[in-house]
Symmetry: C2
Subunit: 165 residues, 2 copies
DNA sequence: TATTGTTATACTCTATAACTATA
DNA sequence: TATAGTTATAGAGTATAACAATA
């Protein structure tokens, strides 16, 4: 139905992992950490961290977003957003702009340098993605994302109360 | 081919995520963190942490394992293993036993209490797993694990140099 | 000389709580 | 009073480096 299951479950040396591998969360953690270790140096070579990379991505996509909303998008507290935005602003990749009618908040926008940075960072990470997904067919790639999203949505904290009633 | 793609990609409020959702690693991170947040309280209610839970799982499955090997299984340094083993030993869930012929290392074994603890902890986490995977068919569940393992194996740090030549 | 376990230390990430300035 | 941003602080998790005992 899918394929002969010829995947050697990546178990270390001569010891068994089955007790943990039975849990979807463990397989997910291992796969995620492996990918993360692969990509991180590439991101850092550009002067970014995963957190600033992600923030830049969201700001590019949602111009004039506020820090509070950015925090919600990244699932981090406002206090953490400050540091990330400080870092991006200090690198001249984004700017904090005044908001008409509310002097409390900032409208975050990527600078030109920020847009260029995102373009190249995005491209390089895409290359990693392609390398890591090389053995998966296009259908398998979308399927994997779909399954991950469904798992995320199924867990209690998964937003979207929209059940299909 | 697979199913109508009716998965609402869990995007926050009114803002777009697509820049990040394009990357398999981001979807994996989000799914993993959601599952982790779901399961953690259950594990902690038993007096365990994710790290001690995992270590107990490996020790149960590989009796007389040494700390160094345990570290390799868990992908953490030996110095970190010490703290985890201290904690498990302090809770009387495992014991450090003498090894014939090598007085440097310990043979780690679960106590009876440790085996009972693992049984109940395993059962409870399985329940979370089932809840989180509720919307996936049995085939989809194995498929998801399979895809995750293939991604993990594909990344540079993925062990198993065994290509199918 | 190399290895096992250990200790001390530091770094990253993130959360909590209290503060300020606006609303 | 409530909210946006800020600051200070603390905790979890993990890594690095140096050390003692043993191989």
């Amino acid at each position: 139905m899918t394929r002969p299951r010829r995947t050697a479950p990546p178990a270390p040396a001569g010891l068994s992992d089955a007790n943990l591998r039975q849990f979807i969360g463990y397989n997910m953690k291992r796969a995620y950490l492996t990918i993360d270790a692969d990509i991180r140096p590439t991101i850092e070579a550009l002067g970014l961290r995963p957190a600033t990379f992600s923030a830049l991505a969201v700001i590019i996509e949602n111009p004039d977003i506020t820090q509070t909303i950015l925090g919600q998008a990244l699932h981090i507290e406002r206090s953490g957003v400050v540091l990330i935005v400080d870092e991006l602003e200090g690198a001249d990749l984004i700017s904090r702009n005044k908001v008409e009618g509310d002097r409390r908040s900032y409208a975050l926008r990527a600078t030109l340098a920020g847009q260029r940075m995102w373009a190249t960072a995005c491209k390089r990470v895409q290359e990693h993605d392609n390398r890591v997904l090389a053995r998966l067919s296009p259908e398998e790639r979308t399927l994997l994302k779909d399954l991950l999203n469904r798992v995320e949505a199924a867990a209690p904290s998964g937003r979207s109360g929209e059940e299909t009633p």
